[in-house]
Amino acid sequence: MAVVAEVPRAPASPPRRAGAFFYRHVRLKLLLLLLPGIVWFGVVYLGSLAALVVYSFYRLEEFTGLVVRDFGFGTYQELFTASNVDIILRTTLMAAAVTVVCGLLAFPLAYYMVRYASPAMKTVLYIGVLMPLWSSYLVRALAWRQILAGEGILFWALDKVGLDGVMRALLDVPVVGGPSIVQSYLGMLSVFVYLWLPFMILPLVAALERVPPSYLEASSDLGAPPQLTFRRVVFPLALPGLIAGSIFTFSLTLGDFIIPTFFGSSAFFIGTQVYTQQGVAGNLPLAAAFTVVPMVIMTFYLLTARRLGAFEAL
């Protein structure tokens, strides 16, 4: 590189001695590099997580509405009452459904990108998937509020093609349906899927790119029909990518309180419950206990994911 030659030779100046010193004392250099980050994450972040867990063992005094700093399991007993367990189950099921639908939608596009798209097309698609991932989550949720509105474009389009009856029938289905699409779990599911889909596509592309084409040729040479090749070769090798993507889709759904505020029935989700408990209700201990749930779920999820090799696909 040309710039190297331009560097003037200097006598043993302080900066040079410092450079030599750090070259000999690698451990010290390492410590200095690590120190700011470790202090920040150790104190600010891990400290906060610890404070949160500690808070969950405090309790709220019913009469005064003040937090009593006594260590106890009272808040956790409250957490495991039937209605709160419902909230946890509802949120977890929604997260699972979102993850499955994201996987189903992501696969064809990811497969097309890796196996069939020309290099130029692939770049366009790749950036096309990345852009929504980085661009405003709230703006995209807002768009859906307007699409799904009763007098909005979805019903206008369905009406034009004569499929509005199908939608009404769908909304009559118990559990997934509701009085309107905005107030149904179906609507909420669509919005979540829309928001988190890029998080599923990208790791899947990374995983599929690592499947050598020769494996597919070998499989078909040995007489496997395409479906069998897909099931026995492509899918198992893409699995780490799916799991890596599912970390995001699952975790993001578990912790969201914006979408359940605007979509779905008035039933609480973990996010909305945490938001209400720490805000209006002023019950920070219960809010803290509620956030321990996704922390525990995600810890197990991440540990399992690591064992299944998902981190290499991130």
Binding site: A106, W134, P294
Partner: protein, 272 residues
């Protein structure tokens, strides 16, 4: 592929096109409703088109204040993330030490854990420490989840570049500062820039952690969130949404192009 590129089946092509349309169609709706004459609803097709909402938004001092706050928070968060992220990356990329994997894991945690966890954890410790919620508490929270963006970008770049260029520079008599200035920095510059842009965009858009770490402060996403509860002047929200898209879209595109093309700085180092 050696055997040549076969054409994808019709079903696969349709499915791929459908997913891409699904990703982009909703953004066009934001644009359409910014021009509707209807103040309170979302009738489609819009009963009429107007540009008056852009003027209404422009004259609203609340929106300007929110924009200023969002920009300052993002700037502070990005600056902190740049320093912490690149220092950690420099430590991790070249040296093996006990707990190295833990660093990558802990840095990832603020975005791997649900946003409410990070948000409420930071809020409870801020309250416990007796610190008042302010722009600075928002910035600290944002910096915490932005570090991983810079970190990942710089680690990836350092792993791709030759470890010997630093030693070569020292052998040729450069001081540590000179090596950093002339060798290391040009090498990681685009990675730093891309990381900074993405961290900035991430902070600028964030709402969940912000809700918990803000007091009375309104960032632009918080303003949008609260405006969703207002029944009147709904298109103004769409105008602000367009502003958010405009501020984030182009820089993000630039960042993606920067990180996708490592050839510029690297190959020169290798070949010369």
């Amino acid at each position: 592929m050696s055997a040549g590129r076969r054409r994808a089946g019709l079903g696969l092509r349709l499915a791929s096109a459908g997913v891409m349309a699904f990703l982009y169609f909703p953004l066009t709706i934001i644009f359409v409703y910014a021009f509707t004459t209807q103040s309170a609803g979302f009738r489609f097709p819009p009963p009429g088109l107007t540009t008056e909402w852009f003027g209404t938004a422009f004259r609203n001092p609340e929106i300007w204040a929110a924009l200023r706050l969002s920009l300052s928070v993002a700037a502070v968060a990005t600056a902190v993330a740049l320093v912490l992220g690149s220092l950690l990356a420099a430590a991790v990329a070249r040296t093996k030490f006990f707990g190295r994997d833990a660093i990558s894991f802990i840095v990832l945690l603020p975005i791997a854990l649900p946003g409410i966890v990070t948000g409420i954890a930071l809020r409870s410790s801020i309250v416990l420490a007796g610190v008042d919620l302010s722009m600075w508490t928002i910035a600290v929270a944002h910096a915490t989840f932005c570090v991983v963006i810079v970190y990942n970008n710089v680690v990836a770049r350092l792993r791709r570049s030759s470890p010997f260029i630093v030693e070569a520079s020292a052998d040729l008599g450069a001081t540590g500062i000179q090596t950093f200035r002339y060798i290391v920095l040009p090498n990681i510059a685009t990675a730093l820039l891309a990381g900074a842009i993405l961290a900035f965009a991430l902070s600028f858009d964030e709402i969940i952690v912000t809700t918990f770490t803000a007091g009375q402060q309104k960032t632009l996403p918080i303003w949008i969130f609260q405006s969703l509860f207002r029944p009147r002047q709904r298109p103004v929200t769409n105008v602000v949404a367009i502003l958010v898209i405009a501020i984030t879209f182009v820089p993000i595109l630039v960042a993606q192009i920067l990180t996708r093309d490592p050839a510029t700085t690297m190959s020169q180092d290798r070949t010369r």
